[in-house]
Symmetry: D2
Subunit: 360 residues, 4 copies
């Protein structure tokens, strides 16, 4: 962390500031320029609030030079994290997985959809039992009965189940039902009590980026979960909010290689929410795969126009089946060893991937 001290500061004020910093256990390094003096603050600065320093009269500006996250930081954990989701399915470190299923669990059609996505190559089953809806008048999900249906379908098809938890009071129920992966939705990306609650378990967490969350905030949210003791975090880019209105969100595909650079955690793409329209889901899924995502989460429904929520962004099973073949070809394209002296797998993080397993 560096603090830029104003030219107008007196030597006494500067000394006082340096003593104050050093009194908190940090070392300092002072560099005087013509128009300002820079004080380098050396040590574990994750504990310092930069806004606090900026409130001091003599301080012009404070800038972090190192990331405020530690457990999620690739610098301190260079190897890719591989998260074991159960049923033999691992994600990260070259293991690519596709989670598919309906937006909301509606009833027995879940089994039909689940069989279709499994047949097409999906390795994990997604579906919502508790739905965060912008309107209190919209359908809010089947609740516990939805969880039961999901676990039954996951058991029948030997697929781990991914489903969203919205309320810290529900976490124990999710554990009791045996949910394989608990999803934290975009609206709860900074719901700290919920993050802490899932952090107290060992169940893998699929953590979605907030609608206006920076990549650093996504990693700080992961840090909340990890600092409570749960290292099994899978990140998810699902689109951010911008001024563009032709799609529901703007898919920040750059976030995929940026996360691979900054963190060892796996990251998947969610092309359904990132676009909001069926007709754009496949191009976005291909883009996420090509950018090096460790997996995808895709909504599939057999009669989209009857879906109880978000039907507008679901693929049909046959669209999904076609997409899965192209996704596999794209994975090959970016991970192939081209046998010409160039290192392969260059879209991925700094820990180069040697082996890629699509699915189990």
């Amino acid at each position: 962390m560096i603090a830029v001290v104003k030219k107008s500061a007196t030597p006494e004020q500067l000394d006082h500031f340096i003593s104050w910093i050093e009194g908190r256990g940090y070392k300092t390094n002072v560099s005087k320029g013509d128009n300002e003096t820079i004080v380098g603050i050396i040590g574990d600065t994750t504990q310092i609030d930069p806004f606090l320093l900026e409130s001091m009269d003599i301080i012009e500006r404070v800038q972090r030079v190192s990331e405020p996250f530690k457990k999620a930081n690739r610098k301190f954990h260079p190897e890719d994290t591989v998260v074991d989701c159960g049923h033999g399915i691992k994600i990260g470190g070259g293991n690519f997985q596709v989670m598919a299923g309906p937006c909301s669990v509606e009833g027995d059609n879940l089994f039909r959809i689940a069989r279709a996505v499994k047949a097409a190559g999906a390795t994990m089953l997604r579906g919502g039992a508790y739905k965060p809806r912008t309107s209190p008048y919209s359908y809010q999900g089947m609740g516990e009965r939805g969880l039961d249906l999901l676990m039954e379908a996951g058991g029948e098809l030997d697929m781990p189940v991914v489903t969203e938890v919205m309320d810290p009071r529900d976490v124990q129920l999710f554990l009791d039902k045996g949910v394989d992966v608990m999803q934290i939705g975009a609206r709860n990306a900074q719901n700290f009590p919920l993050l802490k609650e899932v952090g107290k378990t060992k169940t893998p967490v699929l953590l979605k980026r907030g609608m206006s969350g920076t990549i650093d905030e996504l990693l700080m949210a992961a840090e909340y979960i990890m600092s409570e003791g749960n290292p099994n975090v899978i990140l998810c880019e699902r689109g951010i909010r911008t001024f563009e209105t032709r799609t529901r969100n703007t898919f920040d595909v750059n976030a995929i290689p940026v996360v691979h650079h900054l963190s060892h955690l796996p990251i998947v793409g969610d092309p359904s929410h990132a676009t909001g329209y069926t007709r754009y889901v496949r191009p976005a899924a291909y883009a996420a795969t090509a950018a090096g995502a460790d997996g995808l989460e895709i909504e599939v429904h057999d009669h989209p126009s009857e879906a109880w929520s978000d039907g507008a962004q679901a693929l049909t099973p046959s669209q999904f089946a076609d997409a899965m073949k192209r996704i596999a070809l794209i994975r090959e394209a970016i991970t192939a060893d081209l046998n010409d002296g160039e290192t392969s797998g260059t879209t991925l993080g700094e820990g180069t991937t040697k082996v890629t397993k699509v699915g189990a």
Copy 2:
């Protein structure tokens, strides 16, 4: 709500769509243009998910023509809502209130700060006992002990206390302690379980806009609280996230008159979070007042550089005292009857304010 039907739709497809809509209890109106056909959907369309309609093959686009919120809508409730915060303090409908105090409760200095802000004209005491912090390594607040100190200070000074609740499991504790106004922070603007929980009480709620929340989403969050039975909602504009980095957030001062146009609920401005720097807090406070806000929430601290959180944006008591005088003058400027045939109070909502009470 209107649905734009593609030119390529056959008459049979159009008929089928209209039957489907009418089968759900809506009336329709069909308007054929050269390049598309528009179907007006008449009735209570808050129940329809526009994304669902857009998923249908023959639909080009769906647009709402009426707001998706009802209880918060000025159309159905033209009179300004006045929220009674206790201790004789009302907000809205011409009653302007200033909530001031430290960002975090730190200990006995709370009493000193509270006396200072009361002396300067603040009518409500704000302070955080539970703090939502981006980093798990940052100070998280005093918790229950902080609530006790706040209630003691509020009692001593006869001021309603405003303080943030982050976890639905804490709502009962806040009720037990007698907190006058429960604040929902920006990060919980779409934490629906929390919104529902405070909605089940009658305690006034200060509801902050989310960092990337639209004004419509702010009103939908209010709708969540109101639809559970609690009509006492005070909205708060506290800055949104944009590309600008010279301030912590971008203060969307337009939101104040827009909310007054769309809703009957009071709205206050939070210039501390909206700027993030002490030096910009006063101009932003004046701007919010001039734009017609029903009140302000301002952080005040007697030794900002010792504050445990967000000290960078606190005013000193003397800065606050100066500001309060100018704020009162600005209130007068915008509400004065200029005696010249022009209607006064034109910055406020469509229900023109006749009487303005600054403070109690």
Copy 3:
């Protein structure tokens, strides 16, 4: 276009409004709901300013239902446009091209770089002679001498040259030099005199999206060029400005399929500007290709740290060569006929592509 009329409007006011609209040559359709009346306005509404209608007392809101662009609209021109860039290179309609070269022309190393990119499979040469720089103190480009070097290199290697024009007074010089494709940069995305000037020529234009330009505004800028008589417009997605700071811009990869849906014009991706960091250029290039882009524009430099501008985002020739192989594989993945009854090429526009030619 529809106008939502307030409930408070009298029948006389509504009649007056309808007469006013019809007096301008439009037909109307009136649909009365419980809370508002909707007036459909039928005819060529590209001439109506919706903000003007919204200024009327009785109007609640105005919404377009059809796009404000015509010549660039796929509805009125369903077939993909193929732009002939000279030297036998066509782009669009299944023809995929890669434009590569240095950010700025610096001197003779241009020839070395041009040979390298051609050897790796690039089919067009890009390079800047006139550079738009945020700071007046930054290097502004070689100017006319740079154009001469580019044209010499393009001639020697039989590649069309793409280079940016910033000033309407320079367009004639670009024509005189024989520049093959004139690029309009993001900062000039709404520089209407410049758009009109290039619109008066027949030279292909590579039109970049503005930093905060919507997709509709990009298409309206194309409309400016086309309405002057030049149909040869190639669009370019190069990243938009958002709150995220870990990359220089946010690459809106969704824009690629959205443009294919709305327009018949080709669109290329610029992963260099869309990321700003060499380490993210390749993943972004793969993502753009996978999303169905008609081509790429990539900065390549043999000694990036000596480049005079934007060196931070250039690939080395060997990185570029590796990338080109993977790009070709990704093109195959998304356009392959999978021989299973599913339509191929589904990532592209509604006019399905049968044949894909990578390069000439």
Copy 4:
């Protein structure tokens, strides 16, 4: 400027980097932490492209610590700049001016509107002769004939005329006509040839912030004009583009005190474009005034629904007259000497304003 060097850099690489920097005439200061080394680069770093340094293998990150603008920087020019607009009207340094008039010049009604705004207290006349319109099919302005009408009205009423120039080829015409203040619109905020062209004159320039322009970019655009020799720059905040759609733009009222902090140049607010709806123009005008703006630019029209462009955001003359009285009261509120030992005028820049002149 500081460069953060990766932990993985060898001592030789670090030495090589330091030599490279020092070879360019800068001094360095090296600070070694546990996880990275920070190299402070001391000297005039406005010449260094931070992206270039970041392209080097051993560099983790580069951050500016001083602003990239010099002539516009308050640090090097502490006193407020006062711009003389002619006709005895000065702006900045405590002189507050209101520019009012129609969006577009339409004909003789200009004189009627001009007389009305002057009667209400406006001191400068604004009106558009050349209009930047998103659609090529929208009205583009009267051109030279419009300039003549404006100059005639300005002469008759003894008011300086502010009008937009869009094309560098038109600057000479504006000089020949004697335009008092040349406006650069938001869409041309980074049109560098145009900025340079007006920079070669001595005519005051009203420079609008770009729709997605940061405050730093606004000041860099001013720097372009000033570096060509024209110091007479008036900045204008007119709203930025965000995700909010209930207003045309988001009025970044924070920008006013931020500009006063960073720069000595005057800044005015444009509440008409910042909101886009007549009903919000007055609250936004009051907010800008309260935040310390040096003036306002407001659209006024006597029959808004007949205006040829942007009529939706114009005030009527009587609305404007009411607003002017409140604006004067707000100016008093923020600049009053409250006689209590507190410094007055605290919303303004660091050079405290002693005397405030509203109007001439």
